[in-house]
Subunit: 162 residues, 2 copies
């Protein structure tokens, strides 16, 4: 890939790094407590396997993006990196969807299953999780754009030669 | 793409069609009822927005796959179809992750949030949802394979010509 084609990918990766680091930090630091019926109730991300999964995936995405930013790969690795980008995009997509599903129950509850909403009791926790979700969503969209851009470059060559 | 390269994609799409149709049908027909404290409790997929989302995405994936199977595209649409395949893979991935997150709460509950597990009361419903998730997972994996196969073909050309 030529330098002029590398710069947009570099900038997109920088944006993805910022977003995924923010998502991890905001999720990990989300914490609130409430007293319900004289029982102290601590809300933190480790209470839900889904929120732990979200933090883990965003940390992995941050590490992966950091490595690619500071150790630019040889052109011959393009195939391999495209597949890794695809896997990271799928993982980010999966972590956000899972978190959104749980967050929706946290916000609105589910009367059919008898699950009460908890955001009224621990608003600070819910706001933090919402922030983390927005940052994670940005990271996922940026990875989708990186994929589209790479495919566009590869396929143009394909059309040109084929 | 030559005929010998089209056949594996055709077979993979056939498998994806079977899996996504099964996922939709199994999810939509999942239903069970239980009596808790003399209150009749009906479990069905429309009780949760996440399960409705899962059924919708799998129906969309089925329709899309069906169209591609019976109206084979021209080679010039390759670019466009690769991007559509990517979007379908991301949507399937997202619907399964969201359903898994809710299913995990349905099975184990979440003691911190006071959400009780419901699978003990409505086992038939939970088994149906599990079946739908397995079928949806197969569809997502098959779409991932379709993407890898297409990228492999495109990138090989890239290496050969570049």
């Amino acid at each position: 890939m030529s330098l002029s084609k590398r710069i947009p990918v570099f900038l997109l990766r920088l944006l993805a790094l910022g977003a995924s680091v923010s998502a991890t930090v905001v999720m990990v630091t989300s914490r609130d407590s409430a007293e319900v019926f004289n029982m102290k109730f601590d809300a933190k991300y480790t209470n839900s396997p889904t929120f732990k999964y979200f933090a883990l995936i965003n940390a992995i995405a941050s590490g992966y993006t950091l490595i690619l930013l500071f150790f630019p790969s040889k052109s011959s690795c393009g195939h391999f990196i495209l597949v890794l980008d695809l896997i990271i995009a799928l993982l980010l997509d999966s972590s956000i969807s899972a978190c959104l599903a749980i967050g929706q129950v946290g916000k609105n509850g589910n009367s059919h299953a008898g699950w009460l909403p908890i955001c009224g009791q621990v608003p600070k926790f819910c706001n933090h999780v919402t922030g983390a979700l927005v940052a994670g969503f940005v990271a996922a969209v940026v990875y989708f754009l990186i994929l589209l851009y790479t495919l566009h470059n590869v396929m143009n060559l394909f059309t040109f030669n084929g």
